[in-house]
Symmetry: C2
Subunit: 211 residues, 2 copies
């Protein structure tokens, strides 16, 4: 809709603002300031205002931003007012844990299915969702429309699972595996890398401990 180009870093911040706004709304606040958002997200208030002003004049001078209105606008920018469906591929420990934990508080996302190629796992139930054979994925995607596939398979099976997800028509892939993955042009690829987060933390500990 909007022809704006925004960096991933900005999108990441907008996502944080959105989460912060949801918490404010739960707490009953109707107005929020850039300074408050800045403090909660660990950045400067000027940066918050720059981010928001880039997309429109959402604030009221002298008071701040109306929580409901700002949240609506940010979700509009992110495209999460009507978010894609999410399915999990791999009904192992992590896959099942993700399903059981759900996506509460994330603003609209919901797990719509979990798939595994191991027949001994199909039929298991988990948080009201039944593990289906991977052969059912294609039909499920056709029914759901836009789908993000969360890859939670065993090490070494990542690329295989991604290829299956892509062939089934998934628009994007979010991988929990460590392996490098390849997707065709047009398919979005994201990673959740505990390993890298640990490395960053370790470096911070060591660097922060210097004199």
């Amino acid at each position: 809709m909007s022809g704006k180009k925004v960096s991933e870093r900005t999108i990441r911040r907008l996502s944080h603002y959105a989460r912060c706004l949801r918490l404010s709304r739960i707490r009953g606040d109707s107005i929020i300031t850039s300074g408050y958002l800045a403090g909660t997200c660990g950045i400067s208030s000027a940066a918050v205002r720059k981010d928001l002003a880039f997309f429109g004049e959402f604030g009221k001078q002298g008071s701040g931003y109306e929580v409901d209105e700002l949240l609506y606008n940010i979700e509009e920018i992110l495209g999460t007012t009507d978010p894609p469906s999410v399915v999990v591929i791999g009904a192992g420990n992590i896959g099942m844990a993700l399903i059981e934990s759900g996506l509460a508080g994330t603003g609209g996302y919901r797990y719509r299915g979990i798939f595994d190629r191991d027949p001994s796992r199909t039929g298991l139930k988990c948080a009201g969702i039944e593990v289906q054979s991977i052969s059912m994925l294609s039909a499920a995607v056709q029914k759901l429309g836009e789908v993000i596939a969360v890859i939670a398979v065993s090490p070494g099976e990542g690329q295989n699972a991604v290829d299956t997800a892509v062939a089934a028509g998934c628009s994007a892939v979010l991988s929990f595996t460590l392996e490098p993955l390849i997707v065709p042009e047009g398919v979005i690829l994201g990673f959740v890398e505990v390993s890298t987060e640990l490395d960053i933390i370790t470096h911070s500990i060591r660097a922060g401990a210097r004199i």
Copy 2:
């Protein structure tokens, strides 16, 4: 040791290089080029060389980088040659799944314990590790030394768990919860946010679909 200041973005890339090098080593390669690392990590070869040259002259002109040597140097920079211990707080779905999945392939990290404040969970065994009462955390940290606490508790319990971890002497906290958290100065804080990754992907899908 080194007084260099490096950005988190650079550290994140170094972590990716390290993972790529481990895979190369397993494959038996002894030499790797900046172009190959660049391709696998999705950046330009010049950026890779800049990153590495900043810390020393690790490469051999005309051939490339020796895998073992470069990996050693990167781990030295990251501080992961002798990595901190990792413990999990919260023996729910995610905590148990993390323990069962282990940290294979991450280069040295290992889960050394899992703790929960719910007495009905203590004593459960998981991948050879027994769930301990949260009251044992302090003693465990004292024995382990430098400890990263992975927070995998139910929504709303995050800050409580963090406070406990900090009081027990943990050097850093990596949270899987969505809530904003506060830690005292000197304690490192990191997040794994599936919600934000989904937002980024959703935005990419919608933005990429524009004309």
